[in-house]
């Protein structure tokens, strides 16, 4: 499952080596951040979730079995679960808050990201309009370049279910983008 060098680093991490953990950070932080960044509305939220992903990995490293799953798949799975927790929490908070007035709702929310180019923002907006699991399936397969088996493992699905999610997600994306780009 893992290359020899990676295995050595992983074994050191599992034994509690902080310097080996730093190497893991150097290798995987960017990729995890990119995944979370595409899943969430802005960089600050993505930073918090990415940070929590590695802290969770470190504190429960005894649960990771390198013979069964690749480290990057495991990290993405933690990140995915944290994203789902985050969306649930945000939905609950939004339910508790009073509905925004028309003038407010037409403006960007504080979470809106201004760093993306206009074209990227249109695609991001379309992705954000998808249900979380469809979005996650597309981000994992299209942007993170995971194999079907690894993406299915991250989402805790069968490969058939993953294909179904991807197909529905892409179909919906086509509709949304067709309207946005009219």
């Amino acid at each position: 499952m893992v290359e020899e060098d990676d295995r050595r680093i992983i074994e050191q991490v599992l034994a509690g080596s902080e310097s080996a953990f730093r190497q893991i950070l150097d290798l995987h932080t960017q990729r995890i951040f990119n995944y979370v960044r595409r899943m969430t509305s802005n960089s600050m939220e993505a930073e918090d979730i990415a940070q929590e992903t590695f802290i969770r990995f470190w504190t429960s490293r005894d649960r990771f079995d390198p013979d069964r799953v690749k480290l990057t798949t495991w990290l993405h799975r933690i990140a995915h679960n944290l994203c789902i927790d985050y969306f649930r929490r945000r939905q609950q908070e939004e339910k508790q808050l009073p509905a925004p007035s028309d003038s407010q709702s037409s403006q960007d929310s504080p979470g809106t990201d201004y760093e993306l180019s206009i074209r990227a923002a249109v695609v991001h907006k379309a992705l954000m309009a998808l249900p979380e699991r469809q979005r996650s399936a597309i981000v994992l397969c299209h942007y993170q370049n995971f194999s079907q088996q690894d993406a299915a493992h991250i989402l805790a699905l069968s490969v058939d279910a993953l294909e179904s999610l991807l197909r529905r997600g892409r179909s919906k994306l086509k509709q949304i983008l067709a309207e946005e780009l009219k």
Partner: protein
């Protein structure tokens, strides 16, 4: 490979053959060359792939640095934990680390010796000449009493 399966693959994974399932890629590619329906389907999905490719992320070096800094500071143990980690010997390397708990155990003894030395220094007292004379007088009186006895 048939049109139904090819459609499912392309509608799920897009028009780029690199994204298709590895075990079906060759067959799907061959099928795409032989079917006009397959080609039009590829064109349709390629348009979505192009849109998806527009979502490029800007350089996130600073974000990544912040994340790593945050993680390392969150994992940094407190002073007490650091002290305990240092004192407790490494089970795999007892020969080189056993001196640490030994030193920690000796600390009360060393502290006691230090306090003792400090107190001894304070008790060093030089007699004044009057005090010496009165002590001599006591000694003389005592020896006289002994001689009477």
């Amino acid at each position: 490979m048939n049109l139904e399966r090819f459609t499912l693959i392309v509608e799920s994974y897009g028009a780029d053959p690199q994204q298709w399932p590895g075990d079906e890629r060759a067959e799907a590619l061959e099928f795409s060359r032989s079917s006009t329906d397959a080609l039009s389907l590829l064109d349709k999905e390629a348009a979505l792939d192009e849109h998806l490719a527009l979502f490029e992320l800007p350089d996130h070096k600073r974000s990544v640095q912040r994340i790593e800094k945050g993680i390392l500071s969150a994992l940094k143990p407190g002073l007490l934990e650091q002290l305990l980690n240092w004192i407790l010997p490494d089970v795999d390397d007892l020969a080189h680390t056993l001196w640490r708990p030994t030193l920690a155990a000796c600390m009360p003894l060393l502290l006691g010796v230090a306090i003792g030395l400090t107190l001894t220094d304070n008790n060093t007292y030089e007699l004044s000449s009057d005090e010496e004379l009165s002590l001599l007088a006591f000694t003389a009186a005592a020896s006289e009493e002994r001689s009477y006895d």
